[in-house]
């Protein structure tokens, strides 16, 4: 037994040397890669979802408002804001614009984020449920209770939260509907093909689904329920380190807001250039957004509701304390650029 232990120890010592060397090499390489990912300080990278909701950022970039304000911006496009936020949290990009739901979820998991502005003052019916019509049933409760429906949604974002609120509002139990996770861009085709009975999603995909289905579509919307907001995310240390760039970003977006208000058709053309969406789609959804930088009390209320939702649905452990979301918001930059845009209590 003692000899066995001696033998084992000898093998362990030999293995240890090799493994420590391998680990040190990995750590050094990781450090080198991380440092090489940080872009030079003269330029900032901003991750956005390629969506009309990002009009403020797209117009500011296209018209040179960011440059005029004193910041050189490189836009990195993502298929969804939640992926931009993940890239931001991993340090691959300087800032991100995402929906407010991923920020709530990330904050609940103790990821350090600060929000300096919304990129939409408000939205209306931006998230809604589009379904295949069934026997002229127009009321959501009857529709979903008549048989078990398949409802596709984009999880981890505003649509999933909307779905939760929608089902609660219309008293549809969990076992009365099958929730399926799908990418937003797949949903209109899925609905049209009959793979799902309904989709709960934001524009432009909700609009595209309505357009594709035509008379066969029924839309369930409730303006008082929830409509997604989009926010500019920064890291806590950037509040001091990149204060000038953040202020310049907000100045650029403020200019963009004025431009959009005065030149909606030009703004739509810029958005079309970025998103490659058809003009009639952009026209159809434009009225659902108010493109102005702002910080509204609605943002804090949504976050509080989302914290409760996250606990209720097991996204966070029940014992996770609800953060004070007011502390996530940093108002000083927007107060300087446009004081009336800060509407927090």
């Amino acid at each position: 037994m003692f000899q066995l232990a001696q033998e084992s120890w000898r093998y362990l010592k030999r293995s240890m040397r090799f493994l420590v060397l391998a680990l040190l090499t990995t750590l050094v390489l990781t450090g080198c890669l991380n440092s090489s990912q940080t872009p030079p300080s003269s330029k900032v990278t901003v991750g956005i979802q390629t969506s009309p909701a990002m009009a403020l950022v797209m117009v500011a970039q296209d018209k040179g408002f960011f440059t005029d304000a004193g910041v050189d911006v490189e836009i990195k496009e993502f298929t969804a804001g939640k992926f931009a936020l993940q890239a931001f949290l991993s340090g691959s990009i300087d800032f991100a614009v995402s929906g407010e739901v991923p920020v709530a979820l990330a904050t609940l998991q103790e990821n350090p984020i600060r929000v300096v502005s919304q990129v939409v003052e408000s939205t209306t019916n931006e998230v809604r449920v589009v379904a295949t019509k069934d026997d002229d049933v127009e009321d959501p409760t009857s529709y979903f209770k008549s048989k078990k429906r398949k409802l596709a949604t984009s999880i981890g974002g505003g649509p999933e939260f909307y779905t939760y609120e929608f089902l609660k509002r219309y008293q549809i139990a969990d076992d009365e509907v099958e929730i399926i996770s799908q990418k937003p861009e797949d949903m209109p085709a899925s609905l049209q093909a009959g793979s799902v009975d309904a989709i709960s999603i934001f524009d432009p995909f909700a609009f595209i689904a309505e357009k594709n289905l035509g008379e066969k579509a029924v839309t369930f919307k409730d303006p008082e329920l929830y409509s997604e907001l989009y926010v500019l995310d920064v890291r806590p240390e950037q509040i001091e380190e990149k204060a000038e760039q953040i202020e310049a970003l907000l100045k650029g977006m403020s200019e963009a807001g004025d431009f959009i208000e005065g030149n909606p058709e030009d703004a739509k053309q810029i958005v079309q250039k970025y998103t490659k969406l058809e003009k009639d789609v952009i026209d159809g959804i434009w009225g659902n957004f108010v493109f102005k930088p702002a910080l509204t009390q609605e943002l804090i209320e949504f976050w509080d509701a989302q914290a409760a939702w996250a606990k209720d649905t097991g996204k966070v452990k029940p014992e996770t304390p609800a953060p004070n979301f007011r502390e996530v918001v940093e108002t000083r930059f927007l107060e300087k650029v446009s004081p009336s845009a800060v509407q927090l209590q």
């Binding site: 093998y11 293995s15 993940q86 998991q109 103790e110 981890g156 085709a189 899925s190």
Partner: protein, 259 residues
Amino acid sequence: MKRLSKGSLSILQGGFTIVFILVIWEIVSRVGIVPKPLFPPPTRVFGAWIEMARSGELLRDIQASLWRALIGFCLGSVIAIFVGLLTGRIKLFSNYLSPLIQLLRPLPPVAIIPLVIVWFGIGEVSKIFSISFAVFFPVWINTHVGVRDIPKTFLWSAHTLKIRGLAILWKVIFPAALPFIVAGLRTGISIAFIMVFVSELAGASSGIGYQIYSSQLAYRMDRMIAALVLLGLFGALADIGLLAIIRLVFPWLKLSGQK
């Protein structure tokens, strides 16, 4: 002096590496070299397993993924072996089928998923089809080559012994090609688990792949890593299980590494 047996030694070495990595991982995460929310320690990952087991999600997701992997793997393999036996032995079948198969073979299985969804929807049929499609090619190519390259002396001996028809297939061709077929099946089973993950990203409400994706979006890295480890574990166990079944059914077959 009693030396460790080779089996005990390899278990010791493998176990040591795993324990070493777990300890380093725990230290790196706890100390904060990498941000803890993005890189939870293994103790938290273990806690996530417990959490998922208590909520019933673990069993639900394992059942869903294993069922899809098993059906997809079996379907893809059976068809591939059947087609491989045909194309490997009968020139006419090879002439007609091999060019089409070789054209489809380089297609990344992941790339066909959007098309499969359009054809079959987002239900189980599309997932099983995707998995079977991906498994088919490695199993087919190995079967085809194994059957095609049977030493002629085997077949001459069989003719001399008056073994004809299906008997020659079962008693000579299939056993001779079996090492190749097994190699294809082992590749196929790994691909099956990769495709289970990929197919569950597009239109699913359960499964280990779905759990990985939904945990990532909820910033539950502990659950995401727990599900990832589970996927890898089941892939490895499936390979071990496959070899055990083959040894049971074909005890005479010598696999690589065996003396």
